[in-house]
């Protein structure tokens, strides 16, 4: 594949060679062309393909959203922003946004807390590190479809394992698939189960990047393990936590598989009364069941803007926090290290230092 990319660029100068500047040998000119053109040939496949299958469809979605457009009959006239207006006053659209955000919050917050806990446990000097690290990643290799099948069985209202258990403890069974809040909890559980271990490993990497010297000096100063965790570990991994939140946001706002397959017996995707119909699922229903491409494209573009907005917001906040954090933590680290060094010097090397200092004073 790669080899086929070069021939055209080598032939071009060959044709032009005799006409201009005969002094420069052909080989050099070929070489110069190779140096100048090769980088573009290497990045070209990416940009061409990405433009065709990534950016063009996204841009064309906007064109479709400005038209009346049916799945079967095609474009039916320019309507301007009417599709957007119609969607912004459609209660189903707002319902889907509410569900998406609700499920996202129910999954992001507990996930982050538990992931930090797992990472903190893994960050210790445990035996069989690799085994335990791999073990928290097992849910990640179960595909979302399989996860949904497993959990939609466990959350079944009549025979599900969870309601069986609740009834054993004489609690009322929960209507996981018909009530709004329980269904959001159930769907968030699936997301959490699959992604918590993955995020824990990202946070673990950040924790391991914290220099151990600081912990040592803090321990010397008498800070216990819990104190060290809250005032040193957590602030140091904050940028990584924001990274995790951003990726969780971009993924969470596009959640589709879990609500689509949660309850297959309902005719409307996302629950009989759209209790857990997320925005992408709403888009899907609008485009491919109700065949309204125009409105569905408008929904796609509004969701796109929301995601980009969230991304930019997270990025800006993250950057600000990270930079102030880096500055203050740098200062703190420097202070702590200085204190630690003086202590060490006091204890161990005071004599040697005094000697050097004296020697230097003598010299000057």
């Amino acid at each position: 594949m790669t080899a086929t990319l070069t021939p055209p660029q080598e032939q071009k100068p060959a044709a032009a060679a005799p006409a201009t500047k005969p002094k420069v040998p052909f080989k050099h000119r070929l070489n110069r062309f190779d140096v100048k053109a090769s980088p573009y040939f290497y990045i070209a496949p990416f940009f061409i393909l990405f433009g065709l299958v990534g950016l063009f469809p996204l841009g064309y979605t906007f064109v479709v959203s400005l038209n009346k457009w049916n799945l079967l009959t095609g474009p039916g006239g320019f309507v301007g922003l009417a599709n957007y207006g119609a969607e912004l006053t459609d209660p189903f659209f707002w319902n889907s946004l509410f569900n998406t955000v609700s499920i996202f919050l129910l999954s992001a917050i507990p996930q982050l807390v538990i992931a930090v806990l797992i990472a903190a446990v893994l960050d210790q000097n445990i035996r069989n590190k690799t085994f335990w690290r791999m073990s928290v990643l097992i849910p990640y290799v179960v595909t979302p479809v399989a996860v949904t099948l497993i959990f939609s069985s466990a959350f079944d209202e009549k025979y599900g394992a969870i309601n069986n258990l609740l009834q054993f403890f004489h609690l009322n069974p929960v209507m996981w698939k018909t009530e709004t809040f329980p269904s959001h909890v159930a769907i968030a559980t699936m997301v959490n189960w699959r992604w918590t271990g993955y995020n824990a490993l990202i946070l673990l990497a950040a924790m391991q990047a914290v220099p151990r010297d600081i912990y040592e000096s803090a321990a010397l100063d008498g800070a216990g393990a819990i104190r060290r965790f809250f005032s040193m570990t957590l602030p140091s991994i904050r940028p990584t936590m924001i990274f995790v939140i951003v990726t969780a946001t971009v993924g969470g706002l596009q959640i589709f598989t879990e609500p689509k397959l949660f309850n297959p017996t309902t005719a409307t995707p996302g629950g009989p009364q759209r209790q857990y119909q997320t925005t992408v699922l709403y888009l899907w229903d609008l485009a491919f069941n109700r065949q309204n491409f125009g409105k569905a494209s408008a929904v796609a573009w509004m969701l796109f803007l929301i995601i980009v907005l969230f991304g930019v917001l997270n990025f800006v906040i993250g950057r600000r926090i990270a930079s102030t954090e880096a500055r203050s933590s740098k200062r703190k680290t420097a202070k702590v290290l200085a204190a630690y060094n003086t202590q060490k010097i006091d204890n161990e090397a005071a004599g040697a230092l005094a000697l050097t200092a004296a020697a230097e004073e003598k010299r000057s």
Partner: protein, 307 residues
């Protein structure tokens, strides 16, 4: 980035009175005061680890129990601890309901082609961005980074129209084409290669008369190999787990995920068969995990630091 890829299995002489600091190179054993920060953790830590382990694996194990038993097991308050003997019978029903082998083959083809394409084009572009000088490099790289977070999944409507226009719906090409390249792949390879190849090596190859492409082939590719493996693993996983797009374009010629979801599309859902199917469909990735789990772990941890 290379420095942060952990080699967890570094053999270290373990003496009980000598604390080993994780994350530092222990070429020379360091003597440290027993400050209590790197001592072996106690019982509570392992108890928590076991809890996480059970939490992560029990749902899968439970599916195996339910998938190997008659559906009456699901109504019991306490599911049995050991799997029943009906797994193969339930698997047989799965295969009667959906075209399992065909969909497995489809998934293998789709994921493999996407992986090869993403890794090849990402390495090529990443190498160019990391090590070659050309006009517009900075601008184009910023463009790549800016598109990292663009949810291309939202372009499904025009993509679907195009696929229909070309008559590709129902063919595997329709599944493959939209994910032939990713911005993440290019950025990932660039970040890796920028540190890992010394400029002198490229210059030396050029002085020896190697063309640009053969420099890439003999210097770039060997250096990029570890990152290519990690990118390949994650691309394969992502392609394998994708559901929305294949469901749209190849419902009649399904990938494994689509076939699996069709198990429960009936009015009456027999969960023991559905769960047998879920377990069966998890086996390929579980095998991949057993073979390459370490690389997955170090890939996630490496990506975190710089990503």
């Amino acid at each position: 980035m290379t420095a942060t890829v952990e080699r967890p299995a570094a053999p270290q002489p373990k003496k009980p009175n000598q604390a080993i600091v994780p994350g530092t190179r222990t070429t020379r054993p360091k003597r440290r005061k027993p400050l209590g920060i790197d001592k072996r953790p106690g019982f509570l830590t392992y108890a928590l680890l076991i809890v996480f382990f059970i939490g992560g694996t029990y749902p899968l194990y439970w599916s195996f129990i339910a998938g190997s038993s008659p559906s009456s097991v699901l109504t019991q308050t306490w599911p049995p601890l050991l799997p029943g003997g009906l797994f193969w019978q339930n698997v047989g029903q799965v295969m009667d309901t959906v075209p399992f082998w065909m969909s497995l083959l489809n998934s293998v083809i789709v994921s493999t082609v996407i992986t090869i394409s993403v890794v090849l084009f990402s390495t090529l572009a990443g190498y160019s961005f990391a090590k070659l000088k050309f006009r517009g490099r900075e601008g184009l790289l910023i463009f790549v980074i800016a598109t990292l977070a663009v949810p291309t999944q939202l372009g499904i409507i025009p993509l679907f129209m195009v696929m229909k226009q070309f008559g590709w719906t129902g063919t595997l090409g329709a599944v493959i084409v939209p994910t032939l390249v990713t911005a993440f792949g290019v950025f990932f390879m660039r970040q890796y290669l920028v540190d890992v190849i010394p400029e002198e090596l490229i210059e030396a190859a050029r002085v020896d008369g190697a063309s640009m492409i053969s420099t890439f082939w003999h210097v770039g590719i060997p250096a990029a190999r570890p990152a290519m493996a990690i990118l390949g693993l994650f691309t394969f996983m992502t392609a394998w787990t994708d559901y929305l797009w294949p469901l749209l374009v190849v419902p009649q010629n399904p990938t494994l995920q689509v076939a699996l979801s069709q198990l429960q599309s009936a009015k009456y859902v027999d969960y023991s068969i559905v769960l047998a199917g879920a377990v069966l469909a998890t086996v390929p990735l579980l095998i991949l995990f057993i073979l390459a789990g370490r690389q997955l772990v170090s890939g996630i941890m490496a990506g975190a630091v710089k990503g």
